[in-house]
Assembly symmetry: C2
Homo-oligomer: 200 residues x 2
């Protein structure tokens, strides 16, 4: 990226080129995996010259990492409307929608990478950490308000996101808001029931 | 595969070559995805001549499908010991173990294939169907015995397998029997609690 601040202003030519390159990268990673795309393809899909890609991201892993981070900025939030069930249902619907975008598929592909790729691994870890922190804060608020017994928010996140991801990734049927509600209802009821069993 | 029955007997040379080729295929699909491997690599990893691969599976999709099917034969069962909790915990431990084998990773890769590949899609669908049928039978028995309220066994399967797959695929920590028990306990309690809410 240029080194003058003018080059970095949102909407500037460099910012636009950068966005085009990162979107194209996410799209190609989604299609072919982290190791399965070529710089030439990125340039072609982004509609920029090949040297723009090379110059800005000489390191292929850093290119993938940047594409994933750009995507993740939208995703790490969970609202607090005061209604825990609604907020969790919205969260699952957002996860499901995100998984169906090129960025979401790119993230999936990066998460299942078996080859070692430190920059990508690190980015995925960072994204998951941010998401985990958002859920932890929302759960802590719910526990404070007496809506939930004390619960491991990582486990709660796995119980909610796991079935959601399975349905979306398997692709056999559309994931609906009713699916999200059914998952949230069973998990919240199960967490409450097993907590009271432990107390008795 | 040869057309004489002698060629097909278990332990025969053809059967051995076939197994080597299918195992190598699964390993490579696990590493590089369904579209990311070459016949030359299969032959090299299997320790056979390239023409053995081409002759037996001229169609690349059918090669992948055969590799997946061979793997799945071990996986479609759920025991009935009379103890539903134990049988489901064993089932999740088996899913987790399976996901960490080359065959399991190949199946994962095939399930998330975005390109269209009818033979592979069909095989994955068949494998999932067999697995679904096994769970459906086990759940029906549990309902008959009064261990569970009537429940959609597909949904139950998603609630159980989803978190299991998430933990294993994310790879941040080892999936243990205690993880399987915690998942089964919350899901069974949640299914029972939401069913009795519906009845009241």
């Amino acid at each position: 990226m240029g080194d003058g601040t003018a080059d970095r202003r949102p909407g500037g030519r460099n910012a636009r080129v950068r966005n085009q390159i990162l979107s194209a990268t996410a799209e190609l990673v989604a299609r072919h995996g982290v190791t399965g795309f070529r710089y030439e393809e990125v340039a072609e899909l982004a509609g920029v010259h090949r040297t723009s890609v090379y110059r800005n991201w000489p390191d292929r892993e850093k290119l993938v990492a940047a594409a994933l981070l750009q995507y993740a900025e939208d995703l790490a939030s969970i609202a607090d409307t005061g209604d825990l069930r609604k907020d969790l249902v919205d969260y699952l619907v957002r996860i499901a929608t995100g998984l169906q975008t090129p960025f979401g598929r790119a993230l999936e592909s990066a998460m299942q990478l078996t080859d070692d790729s430190p920059a990508v691994r690190q980015t995925v870890a960072l994204i998951l950490e941010e998401r985990g922190a958002a859920l932890r804060r929302r759960v802590a608020t719910a526990v404070d308000r007496g809506e939930l017994p004390k619960v491991d928010s990582v486990f709660l996140g796995e119980m909610l996101a796991g079935p959601t991801r399975l349905v979306v990734n398997r692709g056999g049927r559309t994931f609906t808001r009713a699916d999200a509600e059914r998952i949230v209802d069973v998990v919240l009821a199960g967490i409450r029931a097993t907590a009271s069993e432990r107390e008795n």
